[in-house]
Symmetry: C2
Subunit: 168 residues, 2 copies
């Protein structure tokens, strides 16, 4: 397989995976493109490579910066902005976990905590079932939350090393 074709496939695969997990396909594709680029790229180059509009490129790049996955670079004597992706996979994974936790897990945890406190008739099967489900899910979500917290603070080797030591 040619490098160009392989790059293409990677961008497609990353875009598909992203969209299946609730991340805008274009955002995932721009990220993929920057990930496999040795050099920082301009908006112009990104637009051209992925055949997207200027507006789309601009918004997507801003989002990626907000996610902490890419950064702007400036070059002496040039007005154009260049974009460069963090290349360390572990940092990418941590950054994504961090953002999604903040945006999506935390709000749900807050609601689950509230709902866990709802009181009701302890002889009503409808109440019992509601209470048990909510309480159980809340516990699981808290476990996930704690594990993410550990992951965010951890070094890659330590994290996976620990997991494999246990899981053999």
């Amino acid at each position: 397989m040619e490098l160009a074709e392989a790059k293409q496939k990677f961008i497609e695969a990353w875009g598909k995976l992203g969209s299946e997990w609730g991340i805008n396909r274009t955002m995932a594709q721009v990220h993929a493109l920057l990930l496999i680029s040795a050099e920082a790229l301009t908006t112009e180059e990104i637009m051209e490579t992925l055949s997207i509009s200027r507006g789309n490129a601009n918004m997507t790049l801003r989002d990626l910066i907000n996610w902490g996955l890419i950064e702007k670079q400036h070059r002496a004597g040039e007005r154009k902005e260049y974009f460069y992706a963090e290349k360390d996979t572990w940092n990418i994974a941590r950054q994504v976990a961090k953002e999604r936790r903040k945006r999506e897990l935390d709000p749900v945890l807050k609601i689950l905590d509230e709902l866990s406190k709802v009181e009701g008739d302890a002889t009503n099967p409808e109440f019992i079932t509601f209470n048990k489900s909510v309480t159980d899910i809340n516990k699981l979500a808290k476990n996930v939350d704690k594990t993410l917290d550990t992951m965010l603070k951890a070094e890659e080797n330590w994290f996976w090393g620990s997991i494999f030591k246990i899981f053999k």
Copy 2:
């Protein structure tokens, strides 16, 4: 808060979380409704409670069955089908992990393996960067895959116990 209001909030929260993670909002809501129902429900009751059409209810219920999250129940002397959700949170988590791995992670792993094998000019920075990114992501994805595998086989207590023993 009233039980009815709490149920409503739970269904909304579960639906929102689902849609943020690439799961159809209605599917997540139907699942939520069944999760907190003491009794199995009919299509009719689900349609009414969530204000969705018969077709939508039918397709969504079929999907949930395919995901292994709910099952059909039959009652003696009745023609109607009743739907009942698996209530064990750990089993739900495992089931979701299992399905998503099969549907979304495995195909990407396959592509990453292919792309890891692409050969090229070892002095070309573009090739070096491509190769390193793909190889690193492939390693991470394989770690995730192995961890999911362990989780699928594990008992809840053992799994979280092991994680906490390590993470303190």
